[in-house]
């Protein structure tokens, strides 16, 4: 169970170019942090590095004493632009698969669908969903299998104002239950959160 996330002096590079260095952050249970920065500053890369998908150049990523391999295997969710949903499969098939894959089951998938009002859409194929509906389906995975750390990459962009607010409430509930949220954003998060701006190596030095 992840209770905290610590980044110490993290440096990341992409395609031979140093994105940033010396980035530190400490996030405790019930805390949220919004990552801001210009396009291409490395927000997505940082989330992928925390998820263990990209290697870090220098520094350390710690999960409060939890082994990083365990933390990544069962302690965190990543929700990005690319949702990994297959256009030809139905929303139900996709939600149930990802629920089981992340440690939930069919019942928890149904509960998540309820919370995001996906019930009438479940028998549709993913390709027939609108961008906002599709994002709600992707976000339903966060609720279908509870994992403490949410790594969100522009989670709100295709959602309308009403859904942004409701997803904000879901984030609030997650934090109240001891969860942690690290989100890359352009617009402010609908919840109280610290802000960490990523700046390039030249400016940060």
């Amino acid at each position: 169970m992840i209770r905290s996330l610590e980044l110490r002096g993290v440096a990341l590079s992409r395609g031979g170019r140093l994105l940033f260095k010396g980035l530190s952050l400490s996030l405790g249970a019930g805390e949220a942090c919004a990552l801001t920065g210009a396009n291409g500053s490395g927000k997505t890369s940082l989330l992928r590095a925390v998820a263990g998908l990209a290697a870090i150049e220098a520094g350390e990523v710690g999960f409060g004493g939890v082994d990083p391999a365990d933390a990544r295997a069962g302690g965190l969710h990543l929700a990005g632009h690319q949702d990994g949903l297959k256009p030809a499969r139905t929303a139900r098939e996709e939600l149930e698969f990802w629920s089981v894959w992340s440690g939930g089951d069919a019942a928890s998938a149904a509960g998540a669908a309820e919370a995001l009002e996906l019930r009438p859409l479940l028998d549709l194929e993913v390709r027939r969903l609108s961008a906002g509906q599709r994002r709600r389906l992707a976000l339903a995975r966060l609720l279908a299998a509870p994992r403490p750390l949410w790594l969100l990459d522009e989670p709100l962009s295709p959602l309308d104002a009403a859904w942004r607010e409701r997803f904000g409430a879901m984030m609030q509930t997650h934090l109240a239950g001891g969860g942690l949220i690290l989100a890359a954003v352009h617009d402010p998060l609908p919840i109280a959160a610290r802000t960490l701006e990523i700046v390039g190596p030249e400016m940060g030095a």
Binding site: R48, G52, A73, L76, H77, G80, G84, R89, W101
Partner: protein, 221 residues
């Protein structure tokens, strides 16, 4: 285990739908088997001499189809990211993908193989052996093919590249399978070749996923 079985079910379903799935592979296979007599001439004696070999090579080529999409879709749409965030090791995930590919295209192709061989003039008695060879060879094709598919992630012209990488890996199973069939037809002992084919398939079922997982991690990084 329930994670693995749901993954296998999903991968088989995806492979079934990917690029037309078994229909396209079997159709391609039938097409090649039709072109051969057109190019070589219809004399039965000539065709019968090459029938098992031709059926076998066409099978290897048909196995190449849709292979390049094995990892590419998941890589592009982000599903591969999510698949890594699980207690199931990526090696096992890769094995499930190859196994799903084999169930969805390898097995239907294996059913079509005896038909193609007989249509080209092979005797009926070859049926059980060519079916068994095609099933086991298909496993070898899927698991060696997966290596090529995973390595060409992130490349331009991935499909063609996959074929260029994979064809040398196909030579031993093509040799062993073709050898088994021709030895059987000439009344020679064929078990040695069959054992070698099984050994090759098993070796790559075991080793292939290690290379695929390494290639996927590299592509995702």
């Amino acid at each position: 285990m329930s994670r693995f079985s749901t993954l296998l079910a999903r991968e088989t379903a995806l492979a079934w739908g990917r690029g037309g799935g078994p229909m396209v592979s079997v159709g391609f296979y039938a097409g090649v088997a039709t072109l051969l007599p057109l190019a070589i001439g219809p004399e039965p004696a000539r065709l019968a001499a090459i029938a098992p070999g031709a059926a076998w090579v066409a099978l290897a080529l048909a196995s190449l189809l849709s292979l390049d999409r094995l990892f590419e879709r998941d890589y592009e749409d982000g599903a591969l990211d999510h698949l890594t965030l699980s207690p199931v090791p990526l090696e096992l995930t890769c094995a499930a993908k190859c196994f799903g590919q084999w169930l969805a295209t390898g097995a239907p192709l294996a059913l079509a193989a005896p038909v193609a061989a007989i249509a080209l003039g092979a005797p009926l008695s070859l049926t059980p052996l060519i079916l068994a060879c095609a099933l086991i060879g298909g496993l070898a094709f899927a698991f060696t093919g997966g290596i090529g598919a995973a390595l060409s992630l992130g490349a331009r012209r991935g499909g063609l590249l996959t074929a260029v990488i994979v064809l040398p890996l196909f030579t031993p199973p093509v040799i062993f399978g073709g050898g088994v069939l021709s030895a059987f037809l000439s009344g020679l002992p064929w078990t040695a070749g069959f054992v070698l084919l099984c050994a090759y398939a098993l070796a790559f079922v075991a080793l292939g996923p290690l290379f695929m997982a390494a290639a996927c991690r590299n592509a995702l990084s």
